[in-house]
C-alpha cells in the first residue's frame, strides 16, 4: 500500500492507520507517564503549542492527549498521560518498542504570537501542566519577545507535581517568575500551600498589558478567571484550554460540544470572552 500524502491525511485523518513507535517512556508521577513517540518512516510531524493528538491503544480505544514537548525541537513527539481509565491505562503501560495509533494534530493553539510585546501569565493546574508545557517552551525559546513571564502551577500534593526538574530549573532563572502551590503538604515541603487563584494577587504583571493562558480543572479556571479579571486583565486577553470528552476529533460526533462550539475543532484553546459564558451553564 502506498503511504498516504499529507494532503490526504488532512482530508481524512481518521484513516491514518500507520502506527507510531514508542521510543522511550518516563514515569512523571505515581499515575502519570510520558511517552516519546516516533512517526512512521517518511512521515514528518509538526504542531503548535496547545494542540492535541488522538492516541489509540489497539483494541482498547482512543483518547485526546495534548502534545507536551517542545514544538521547535526535533525528535520524538512527547505526550504526558494520566492513568485515568481503560485507554489511558493501556497507553501508560506501553513500553519502548511497542506501537500506538496516532492521528493529529488537532485543534486551536495558544496565541503566543499575539501575546508578544506584553506580559504573559501562564496558569496550570494538575494534569493541565502538559498542555501548557509546549507553550512555555515556546515562550522561553523566544524570551526576548515578551516582557514578564509568570508561571503559576498548582497540584494536589508535592508528589503530584509534574516535571519537577524543569520546574526547579525555571525557578532558578531571573527572567521567569515561577510559583508552585499544592493543596496539602507535609511539613518538610518548602513550596506554597494554597490554591492557584490566590497566587494571582501577588504575581508580578501589568494587567493592562497581560495575556493569560490557563489549563486545568474547570473549577480552578473559573476562580482564576475571576481573580485575573479583578486584577484588571480583560477577558479577551484570557485564554483557556477546555477539556471535553472528544471522540471523533473531526467535529462530527458531538461528544465534545459546548453550546455552539466543538472543542475538538473550535478549541481546545478558547478566549474567555467566547467560552466564559458557557462555563457557568448547567446544561451546555
Amino acid at each position: 500500500m502506498q503511504p498516504r500524502t499529507e494532503a490526504a491525511r488532512a482530508q481524512q485523518p481518521w484513516l491514518d492507520r500507520e502506527p507510531w513507535r514508542v521510543t522511550a517512556t518516563r514515569r512523571e508521577s505515581h499515575d502519570t507517564v510520558t511517552l516519546e513517540l516516533e512517526p512512521p518512516a517518511g512521515r514528518t510531524f509538526s504542531f503548535q503549542p496547545g494542540q492535541f493528538n488522538m492516541l489509540y491503544a489497539f483494541g482498547v480505544g482512543e483518547v485526546p492527549i495534548s502534545v507536551s514537548g517542545d514544538p521547535e525541537a526535533p525528535g520524538p513527539v512527547r505526550h504526558t498521560i494520566r492513568d485515568m481509565g481503560a485507554v489511558t491505562h493501556a497507553l501508560c503501560a506501553r513500553q519502548a518498542g511497542q506501537e500506538v495509533g496516532v492521528r493529529g494534530p488537532y485543534g486551536t493553539h495558544w496565541p503566543v504570537a499575539e501575546a508578544e510585546g506584553g506580559d504573559v501569565v501562564v496558569v496550570a493546574g494538575g494534569v493541565g501542566m502538559p498542555p501548557m508545557r509546549s507553550a512555555f517552551y515556546h515562550l522561553i525559546a523566544h524570551r526576548d519577545r515578551y516582557r514578564r513571564i509568570v508561571l503559576l502551577y498548582g497540584a494536589r500534593t508535592p508528589a503530584d507535581l509534574l516535571y519537577p526538574d524543569e520546574l526547579s530549573s525555571w525557578r532558578g532563572r531571573f527572567d521567569l517568575d515561577v510559583q508552585v502551590t499544592v493543596d496539602t503538604a507535609a511539613g518538610d515541603w518548602r513550596g506554597g500551600v494554597g490554591v492557584v487563584p490566590d497566587l494571582i494577587g501577588s504575581a508580578p504583571f501589568d494587567p493592562a498589558a497581560t495575556t493569560a493562558f490557563m489549563v486545568g480543572p474547570e473549577v480552578m479556571m473559573r476562580f482564576t478567571i475571576r481573580a485575573l479579571m479583578r486584577a484588571g486583565v480583560p477577558d479577551e486577553r484570557i485564554f483557556l484550554s477546555a477539556e471535553r470528552n472528544m471522540h471523533c476529533a473531526a467535529a462530527m460526533c458531538g461528544h465534545c460540544q459546548i453550546g455552539p462550539f466543538f472543542v475538538c475543532r473550535d478549541g481546545p484553546v478558547f478566549s474567555c470572552r467566547a467560552l466564559g459564558p458557557w462555563l457557568r451553564r448547567r446544561e451546555a
Binding site: 485515568m84 498548582g154 501577588s202 480552578m220
Partner: protein
Amino acid sequence: METLEHELRSHPFVGDLQPAYLTLLASLARNVEFAAGAFLFREGARADRCYLLREGRVALEIATMARGHIIVQTLGAGEVAGFSWLLEPHEWQFDGRAIEPVRAVALDGDAVRAKCEEDPRLGFELMRRFAHLATGRLQSTRLRLLDVYGTAHATPH
C-alpha cells in the same frame, strides 16, 4: 515610629487606612524578625498578636501523631498571619512557622481590640478587612474541599 508608620502604609492590608489610624496602629506595633524554622505562634497558646508580613513566608500547620506536621496554608509578603487574636477565645488554632526568614509588623492584639471598642469607626473598618480576609480563606478552603485535581479533573478514558 515613623518607620513603622511607613511600613504600615506600604502594607496592602492596612495601607489605605486614614493617616490618623495608621499613626494609632503604629503606636501599637513593633517590627519583628523570625529565622527560618522559628515559630511565630503555637497552637493552643494565647493569641495576642497580629502579624502583617513584610518579607518571607509562614506556614500555618498542625502537628499530628499519625502524619507528622501538615501544612494547611502558606502566607507571604503582603499577607496577614493570624486573626485568632480578634475573637474569643483568643487562642491560636494552628502553629505558625517561618519557612524562610520572616520580617513582619506585629500588632498588639489586646490593644488593637481595645481601640476598636473605643472607636467603632476604626473597629468597623478593621472588622470589614478581616471579614474580607476570612471570606477569601473560606473560599480557598472550599476550592480545596472540591479536590479539583482528583478524579473530577479529567474525563476518565
